[in-house]
């Protein structure tokens, strides 16, 4: 009772460090962006700080992997198939059916795979991270941690961000393989393509940098998903409803950032790596 009575009249918002400034429209967005980058910088610095929270990292890694592996595999089979069918029908009309393999594989490895991974990491792993950190924040657990002289960024955020990054990289490998196999299966069995043409066009068009860029993308997307989830989780606005909103926002923000960053990375890649089949 006392606690309720104490809490209700106190109009203190849980994010109290907003300075009393005049509100210029759009300023809030810049401030949030700045804080997001500040957290990213703090996390990057804290990665190299001892002691490393190995136990927390392994637990988080295992958790994120366990919630993403199966959905990722199940999504990547139809996705590879769709690309194979679509590209197959297009190349058939153009009379370049022998190149189906290379084209669909490139699309899967370079674009589809990192994005599938990122969406799943953000949707399944990131939302869980955000909800976990958010509920801990409103229960004052993180305050308690700080009071005990333990930095929540180093203790909780760093292991989670590292876990999302590594899971993303490994998952990306798996999705590439499963997606490629799915594409192969649909092209060869359903569209009557020949295994030989599929494989030879693959090795004619694809090169190792395609795989590298795919993994680099996955690494960056994992980092973004982890940071955004942690940022929204550390700053929920008021009560359990605020945590729900924060989870929602973290997923939406991550998606927006991912597609934008993906465009930039693809643009850079196409500029600096010469295409093999030229």
């Amino acid at each position: 009772m006392t606690m309720e009575a104490e809490r209700n009249p106190a109009p203190a918002p849980p994010r109290p460090d907003r300075p009393p400034r005049r509100q210029i429209p759009g300023l809030g967005a810049f401030r949030q962006t700045g804080r997001l980058f500040a957290l990213a910088a703090a996390v990057t610095r804290a990665v190299f700080k001892r002691p490393f929270q190995l136990r927390e990292f392994i637990e988080q890694f295992w958790f994120i992997a366990s919630v993403t592996i199966l959905p990722a595999a199940l999504v990547s089979i139809p996705f590879g198939a769709v690309i194979a069918l679509q590209v197959g029908s297009l190349t058939q009309q153009l009379g370049a059916q022998s190149f189906t393999g290379g084209a669909s594989v490139l699309a899967v490895i370079q674009q589809a795979s990192p994005l599938i991974v990122a969406l799943l990491i953000a949707g399944a792993g990131g939302s869980a991270i955000c909800a976990d950190l958010g509920s801990r924040t409103i229960r004052e657990e993180l305050d308690a941690m700080e009071v005990m002289g333990v930095s929540p960024v180093q203790r909780l955020v760093v292991p989670r961000v590292l876990a999302t990054m590594f899971v993303a990289v490994l998952l990306n490998g798996m999705v590439s393989v499963v997606g490629t196999l799915g594409g192969y299966f649909f092209n060869v069995i359903l569209q009557g393509g020949t295994p030989g043409a599929y494989l030879s066009s693959f090795s004619a068009l694809a090169q190792l940098p395609d795989l590298y860029v795919s993994e680099i993308k996955a690494l960056i997307f994992g980092f973004i998903a982890g940071i955004v989830a942690a940022y929204r989780g550390l700053n929920p606005r008021g009560g359990p409803k605020g945590v729900g909103d924060a989870v929602n926002q973290s997923v939406v923000i991550t998606f927006l950032l991912l597609f934008f960053v993906n465009m930039v990375l693809t643009g850079i890649y196409l500029q600096i790596v010469p295409p093999k089949g030229g």
Binding site: M1, T2, M3, A5, E6, P9, A10, P11, A12, P13, P16, D17, R18, P19, P20, S135, R136, R139, E140, E141, D143, A144, E146, V147, M148, G149, V150, S151, R155
Partner: protein, 328 residues
């Protein structure tokens, strides 16, 4: 011995709303202080500002030369290891058992062996009366138990400054009395500087060496307990007697019209109210060492005796009658 906490001109606002301003006080080293105040006057905010969780806009909080408001983050983290903070509802880690919760600071900050950790933790668990519950999760125990577990966790690193946020809320009168005794015993054992934020009158009357009160965005007063307990300040008098008549209303403060009407109606009853009696302070349990703070405080208060209001001076002299005989 505990560490002195010096607060200078602290001002805190949330957005446009000012919580309190220009709070200046010194928590004397090793002594027990209580901060009173009606609900919603920012007592918890004050505690969190002392430890650097919230950043006031102006002022300083000096501990060992570190300013908890504006020093580098690294110094603040180091200084926080001197603190034990008991949160209002315990703030235990929901995913850990009580044992792991209480062991957390030890595992983070010391290189003690697990057997050593177990010994210290069980000692603290026993101290707050939670033996047998140490394997439970925070969600499985009552609010009062969570509070006591929070206290045990705050104590596990032998802090030099202990801050308690409403140690009584959610506890029955008997448990509150036990907590009061526990806090005094603690002070006798480890001689830490303590600040208790509360609106419980029993704790306020029996536990502290020093008392302060926050009201209407200001620190009404802070000083030796006698000053507040004998104060004629309307706010303090109303609060300590728990009356409805006075400047404190249901929503923070009454407007002038209500106050005037009230004075008209109840003038005879307030005039005839008996003077408040000063209850003697709690002593440590038998078998524990005497509190070193008592002697230090006596010297300090005697030194400032001339500055105290007459009623407080009389109360101090009455309370220290044996000392008075010894000095001439």
């Amino acid at each position: 011995m505990g560490i002195e906490v010096v607060v200078e001109g602290l001002t805190k606002s949330f957005g446009k709303q000012n919580i309190w301003q220009d709070v200046t006080l010194t928590l004397p080293a090793g002594e027990v202080s209580v901060m009173l105040g009606p609900s919603g006057t920012g007592k918890t905010v004050f505690l969190k500002s002392l430890i650097g969780l919230l950043k006031p806009e102006r002022g300083r909080v000096l501990i060992n030369g570190v300013d908890m408001v504006s020093s580098p983050e690294r110094d603040i983290y180091e200084t926080r290891k001197l603190f034990g903070l008991m949160f209002q509802d315990g703030a235990l880690f929901g995913s850990m058992s009580l044992f792991d919760n209480i062991a957390f600071p030890l595992r983070e900050h010391t290189r003690k062996k697990e057997s050593e950790i177990r010994r210290i933790v069980m000692e603290r668990v026993d101290m707050v009366g939670l033996l047998g519950a140490e394997e439970k999760l925070p969600g499985e125990i009552s609010g009062g138990m969570r509070k006591r577990a929070g206290l045990a966790r705050a104590l596990v690193l032998d802090p030099q400054i202990i801050l308690c946020d409403e140690p009584d809320s959610g506890l029955d009168p008997v448990r509150t009395a036990f907590i009061s005794q526990l806090l005094i015993d603690l002070n006798a054992q480890i001689d830490a500087t303590m600040l208790i934020v509360t609106h419980n009158l029993d704790i306020a009357a029996t536990v502290p060496d020093n008392m302060g009160m926050l009201f209407r965005r200001n620190l009404v007063t802070f000083g030796p307990r006698e000053v507040l307990l004998t104060s004629e300040e309307p706010v303090v008098a109303q609060f300590l007697s728990g009356r409805r008549e006075g400047p404190i209303g249901m929503s923070e403060e009454k407007d002038a019209a209500t106050l005037a009407k009230e004075q008209l109606n109840s003038a005879p009853s307030t005039a005839g109210s008996p003077p408040r009696r000063i209850v003697p302070q709690l002593e440590p349990s038998p078998g524990l060492p005497a509190r070193q703070a008592v002697l230090r405080r006596k010297l300090r208060v005697m030194g400032m005796l001339d500055e105290l209001p007459p009623a407080a001076r009389r109360a101090v002299e009455n309370g220290m009658a044996p000392a008075q005989e010894a000095t001439p």
